[in-house]
C-alpha cells in the first residue's frame, strides 16, 4: 500500500506538470517566450512515478525535455518558469533556458541538450556513491532515440563492468524527433539492447504512474541488493511535437487518437478512487495544481531581466583584451 501522503503528492505533481506544459504550449503559440521549448505532455506518469520512488537528494540527469523531471524532482516552480522566460531569478539565472533547467540542490545533475550525454554523468555520480559508501539512488532519464548513441552504450558497459547500481530510465515515447521508434529500433523490444551488457531490464506502461512507481521502486532495491545497473523502459506517447512549433505532420491522427485513450492524466483520474481519493479530494488537488502553475507564470512575468554583463559571471578564465571579455 502506498501511503496517503505519497498518493496526494503523486496526484499533485502529475497535474502540475500537465498544466505547466499546457501553459507552455500556449505561450509558445503567442510567441512571448524566447528559445526552443520541448514539452513533455504524455510523459507525466514517468516523471512522477520514478521520482516518487526517489528521495529529494537522490541524483538524476535529464534532457532538453526536462520540465516534468524538474517539477517532479522538487525544483521551484517559480524559478523554473523564470528561467524559461530568461529572467535573472531563473533557476540557472537565465543562462540555461528551457533546455537546461537544473538545480543541483534538488538532486539534478543537469539537463543536457546533447542526446545521450546524461547516462555517463549519472554513472559518475553513482561511482562516487559507491566509493564513498553512501547510498543515494542515481537515475538517468533519456529517450528512445538516445539508445543509438555511443555515449549511452559506453556508460551501460562501464556500469555493468563496475557493478554500479544505477538506473537507466528510457522513455520510449514513440518518436525521436520526426523518426518513429518502430522504424529506428533494431531489436524487437527497445530494452533488448541491454542483452549485450547482460543487464537486467524491465518494461513498464509509462502511462500508468503507479506501475512506473512500483517498477522503479523494485528496480532500485534489486539494483542495490545485487550491485548491478538496471535498465527500465517505459512506453508512452509523445503528444507534443519534438518542439513547440513542430507541425507533427508525421504523427498520424489515428495514432494520436489511440494514444489519447491511455493518456496518463486520464488514467490517473480513472484510478483515483482506487487510491482512496474521492471526487472532492481530486478536485482540490487539481485546483491547487492549477493555481500554483498560474502563480508561477504570473511571477515569472514580473521578474527582472539579467543585465547584459551578467553574461560574464562564473567565468574563471578571462581574456586580456577588454573588448573581448
Amino acid at each position: 500500500m502506498i501511503e496517503k501522503k505519497k498518493i496526494n503528492w503523486i496526484y499533485k505533481k502529475i497535474f502540475t506538470i500537465r498544466f505547466f506544459e499546457e501553459r507552455i504550449k500556449k505561450i509558445a503559440k503567442e510567441k512571448t517566450v524566447p528559445g526552443y521549448l520541448h514539452t513533455c505532455i504524455g510523459s507525466e506518469a514517468i516523471c512522477v512515478g520514478v521520482m516518487a520512488a526517489l528521495n529529494q537528494d537522490d541524483w538524476i540527469s535529464s534532457t532538453y525535455r526536462n520540465h516534468g523531471h524538474a517539477i517532479a524532482k522538487g525544483c521551484e516552480l517559480n524559478e523554473i518558469t523564470s528561467e524559461i522566460y530568461g529572467r535573472k531569478t531563473g533557476i540557472c539565472k537565465g543562462r540555461g533556458g528551457s533546455m537546461h533547467i537544473s538545480d543541483f540542490s534538488k538532486g539534478m545533475l543537469g539537463s543536457f541538450g546533447i542526446v545521450a550525454a546524461g547516462p555517463a554523468v549519472v554513472l559518475g555520480a553513482a561511482l562516487q556513491e559507491k566509493i564513498n559508501k553512501s547510498n543515494k539512488t542515481c537515475v538517468s532519464f533519456f529517450g528512445d532515440g538516445a539508445i543509438h548513441n555511443g555515449a549511452f552504450h559506453e556508460a551501460a558497459g562501464l556500469a555493468k563492468l563496475w557493478d554500479i547500481p544505477m538506473i537507466f530510465v528510457c522513455e520510449n515515447n514513440g518518436y525521436a524527433e520526426a523518426t518513429a521508434t518502430d522504424w529506428h529500433l533494431n531489436t524487437k523490444e527497445l530494452s533488448d539492447i541491454t542483452k549485450a551488457y547482460d543487464m537486467l531490464s524491465y518494461i513498464g506502461d509509462g502511462n500508468n504512474v503507479f506501475e512506473v512507481y512500483d517498477i522503479t521502486k523494485k528496480a532500485i532495491n534489486e539494483a542495490k541488493q545485487k550491485n548491478t545497473p538496471i535498465f527500465l523502459e517505459f512506453k508512452n506517447y509523445r503528444f507534443s511535437g519534438q518542439y513547440e512549433g513542430d507541425t507533427q505532420l508525421y504523427q498520424p491522427q489515428e495514432e494520436i487518437d489511440k494514444a489519447k485513450q491511455n493518456d496518463p492524466i486520464k488514467l490517473a483520474k480513472e484510478n483515483s478512487s482506487k487510491y482512496g481519493l474521492n471526487k472532492n479530494d481530486l478536485e482540490k488537488i487539481i485546483n491547487e495544481a492549477r493555481e500554483e502553475v498560474d502563480k508561477a507564470f504570473d511571477f515569472a512575468d514580473t521578474q527582472p531581466w539579467p543585465q547584459p554583463e551578467d553574461a560574464l559571471e562564473e567565468v574563471y578564465v578571462n581574456y586580456p583584451v577588454e573588448i573581448n571579455r
Binding site: P34, G35, G96, G113, T179, P308
Partner: protein, 338 residues
Amino acid sequence: MTIKTVKDAINDALVQSFEEDKNVILMGEDIAGGKGREQYQGTQDAWGGPFGVTQGLYTKFGGERVRDTTIAEAGFFGAAIGAAMTGLRPIVELMYVDFAGVCFDQMMNQAAKVRYMFGGKQKVPMVVRTVVGAGFRAGSEHSQTLYSLYTHIPGLKVVAPYDAYDAKGLLLSSIKDDDPVIFMEHKRLYMTSCEVPDDLKPIPLGKGRIRREGSDVTIIAIQRMNLFAEEAADELKKINISCEIVDPRTYSPLDEELIFQSVKKTGKVIVVDESNPKCSLASEISSLISEKCFSDLKAAVIKITAPHTPVPFSPPMEDFYIPSTKKIIDAVKKLKDV
C-alpha cells in the same frame, strides 16, 4: 536572376549536385523526416532537417541516396568516410555544430588524415553540412560557431558563407572537392536573400570577396558578421569614413592575399568574429596580418569577438555576447583617430 534565400540556395546546390553526379548521397537525422510512417500519406519528407533545408530531396531522389539516420553521428560520419574513399560523394548533416563533440574523432583523426597518412593514395571527398551561430535563444549547446575547432586541423577545409550567392556557389564546389569540407550554415542567415543566377558556377574554395570597397579602415568579417560590418559601414559613410569589408568566405584555405592587399591599402584593421576570442579565426587572421603586414599597419589590429564564455540563453545576455554594429562603429572611430 532570381532572388533566393540562403536556405533555398543551399537546397538548389544540393539538388543540382544530386542531378549532376549519381555518387552524391546525403545522410543525417530527419533530413527527410517521417521515417516509419510511410504508410500514412503526406508524412514523408516532413522535416528536411530542423530548418527545412533538405526538404524535397527525399521525394526527388529516394531513400537510397537520401538517408535518415539514427542519432549515431559517430557511425554515419565514419560511414561517410568509407563511402567517400570507395567512390561516393557523401554529404552528412551535423544538425548543430555543437554536436561536433560526439563525432569529432571521425573528422579529426580519420577524414582529415587519410590522404596524408596513407601515402596519398586515397582521398575523402565528403562534405559536412552543419548549422552554427548564436542569436536564436537556443542556449549554450545549440548556439556555438566553433569555426576554429575545425580550421585548426590540417586536412579539413572550412567554408562559412554569408549570403545566398556564396552559399550556393561554395556548396557546389565543396561537393566537387576531393577532400573533406566542413560547410557551416548560420541559422540566422537562412532566411536572408540576395540575387543568385540560376546558372551560377561553383565558387572556388580559397577565394575571398571584397564585399565593399573603401579606403580608411579594413573590416574583415566572418559569416554573419558581414551584416553588422555593412550596417557599420553605412553609418560611418555618413561621417565620411570609408570602410572596406573583406569576407574571406573560406577559412581553410584562406585567401591571405586578398586580406593583405586590403591591409596595405588602409593600414587599419578590424576582424569581427562571432566565436570566442581564444585561438579563434579572429586571432589567427590578426596574427597573420601582424606578421606579414607589420610595416603597413598604422595601429594594432582590433579583434571584435564574443566574450570568452559559453553562449548564454537570456536575450539581454545573448545580445551582449554577439558582436554588434555599435562595437564595430566604435572600433572604427577609434582607429580613424590614430
